[in-house]
Subunit: 406 residues, 2 copies
């Protein structure tokens, strides 16, 4: 062995031109809307699997949110009966795996390890299926496990909450938390299919029913004034669990979300802008600061209120539109102030200051700071600098308006 | 909470059409060829980073194969001096991390965890860089860690072996081993750039110099008869470490590999065919059966010889071309028989039978069995069924021809 590092002169001068590699990849998946997905007379799931055109039956494992099982105690029997009924199309390779839902699923990397083991022992290959039934956090965790086994096995998402049906489960991301940071680990990996079953919504508790609407308000505010007016008009019905109104909200929100991913030119987020993250820098931090006592959508509602107030104070947004936004969020039943928003207001670098969320947000996305604000209802704008004292003022205004409401 | 699962009749009949989501993603990266990458007067690395057009300096962490450091004991100083010289463009966020190279890097998931920790503490974001310097196994492991942190931070691969420069490091995959299976965990994740520095080849031991040529023989056999003749003609020079011949081999092999990924229509391998895996079903199994005493390229050479012999026996390939293939592999210095190839020949389902590799290969790819054979030099063909007794015969022929040679 030699220990000298050869100088360029030691060997032939390089005369080989660079090779520029361009890899086009196209992902296609369908988002379906149904009720009673596992009723024997509902052909959807069987059709989705048979549509792969390959020789069946295909192997499948099922991972289910244990919170869902509490409300639907016959669910696993139904899934087994469905698989049995369609035994020429699909085979359950093992018993279903129940995993606690909510953020806890994303805070315990052991679940990912365990799913990898099950995928291995059940002989799940890149043409087999993992079906995940649950809320967004569970789907994120299972999606990460599925995306990294065999470099990606097929994932069928069955979201069971408003939030996951209208937002997280229709997208191309997965992830778990690490080092106290949300989604520190994850990949971009489109699902094989998304099956939105409205039946699951009937058993949601009020907080879960409500919190998913925050993402609909968000996407309406940055992209679609007409959709915003629809939500505003039906806010009372939505708060009172009107299913028809909710189905329309979920459908339009999912559609806007999907359109954004497909047409914004950066589905895998290689740039720095992320307009869909309106209200999210504060929301992510608030979730963490409250020990995840706030649900994601509840935190997003506060984040929307904060960034709308800041947009108003900085002269971007009119006073009347700012007030319409706060009113709609309140009519939907959202709490718009929590103590953690105001803690360490004068110490923006304190780990427990909301403003630390700005730095963490920038670091997660990478590149320059890019925060989405509003210039009017239906129109998001990107800014790359923020004025912390205006943000402090916005928080004080929110405290005055909403602290006593809680 | 209710425990009845609502029937479809309980709520409004679904009347919402499915949404078909089509997500086009385009990845672009450059593969460069140079010598003396870290010489201060070599602008390549600085240019590659400055070309991102973002405000610098950009953060970078360096992960290096400890085997490379043994031969290049000034390497880390050089990298540090280079970063210092270009401090307006890049900043090393921590000391370089040395990791054992070879398959051991892929067999210890702790390395991935550790790199995630370093990426976190060093504040590496999606616009920062992880530079990995080493052989293919190390690059695979670092690539997996980089692809899963923040859903993918920028990876610059600096492959240091023939095998990684001409094959693995120019592609879109990463991975580590789990459950005794090669690449059980991994993702598809194109690198940010690949910097092939020929200087590193001068210190390779003879086995590493040689083994990487197996992938060039492979891709020539299935795609490019002219390239095959070039290798055949220069086999003696290549075996005797002629650098000019090696540079041409690496360049053309990398080019064919890149073209295949870009133009075959399935860069992320959603189908079942994987023509570049000619000779690989047996190679993967042999690596495992020999406890990774065989290097990947050495195993691939045996796999090529086996599948060529089988192609000849099954009437696909002419006798003269079969013999030319074996002769070239021998001239390049490859050993074409190991004991593990013939173990449990009559027990194809035995875990230590080479034939178990066929099942594992199918499972990893998913879908139907798809094995690439040759109809002539330069032309691969896919088959979906194999005749085990012909394969047994092929192994016995190889045993007779090559066992005594070792």
């Amino acid at each position: 062995m030699t220990t000298t590092y050869p100088t360029p002169k030691a060997i032939a001068a390089p005369s080989l031109p660079l090779i520029r590699q361009v890899v086009p990849v196209q992902f296609t998946y369908d988002v379906h809307f149904t009720t009673g997905l596992f009723e024997l007379n509902n052909p959807l799931l069987a059709q989705v699997i048979a549509a792969d055109g390959e020789v069946g039956p295909k192997r499948m494992i099922v991972v289910v949110d244990s919170g869902v099982l509490q409300c639907h105690d016959k669910l696993l029997e139904q899934v087994a009966a469905y698989a049995n009924y369609h035994h020429d199309i699909l085979t359950l390779s093992t018993d279903a795996i129940a995993v606690p839902g909510g953020e806890i699923a994303k805070n315990q990397p052991e679940w990912v390890d365990q799913l990898h083991q099950v995928i291995n022992t059940a002989g799940i290959c890149r043409h087999s299926y993992v079906m995940a039934i649950g809320g967004g956090a569970l789907l994120d965790m299972v999606g990460y496990a599925a995306a990294t086994a065999h470099r990606g096995v097929r994932l069928i998402r069955v979201p069971t909450t408003v939030l996951s049906q209208d937002d997280s489960a229709v997208g191309v991301k997965n992830g778990i938390n690490a080092f106290g940071k949300k989604n520190f680990l994850g990949t971009f990996a489109p699902p094989y299919a998304v099956l939105n079953d409205f039946s699951f919504l009937t058993t949601l508790d009020d907080r879960d029913w409500r919190s998913g609407m925050a993402e609909a308000v968000k996407v309406a505010l940055i992209k679609d004034a007409e959709f915003y007016r629809l939500i505003e008009t039906h806010a009372h019905a939505l708060a009172n669990r009107d299913m028809a109104a909710m189905q329309q909200l979920i459908y339009r929100c999912a559609q806007l979300h999907l359109d954004h991913i497909a047409y914004n030119g950066d589905p895998f987020e290689m740039g720095s802008a992320r307009p869909l993250d309106f209200g999210h820098w504060a929301a992510h931090k608030l979730e963490h600061l409250t020990g995840y006592n706030l649900r994601h959508g509840e935190a997003v509602a506060i984040g929307i209120a904060l960034d709308s107030t800041y947009a108003y104070l900085s002269g971007l947004l009119s006073q009347s539109e700012w007030q319409r936004i706060l009113k709609t969020l309140q009519m939907l039943g959202f709490t718009l102030y929590v103590k953690e928003l105001g803690d360490y207001l004068d110490q923006p670098r304190h780990p427990q200051s909301i403003f630390k969320g700005l730095t963490e947000f920038q670091e997660h996305l990478g590149g320059e700071l890019s925060v989405t604000l509003l210039s009017e209802i239906g129109k998001g704008v990107e800014v790359h600098q923020v004025n912390l004292s205006l943000y402090q003022q916005a928080i004080l205004i929110m405290q005055e308006m909403f602290e006593s409401v809680n």
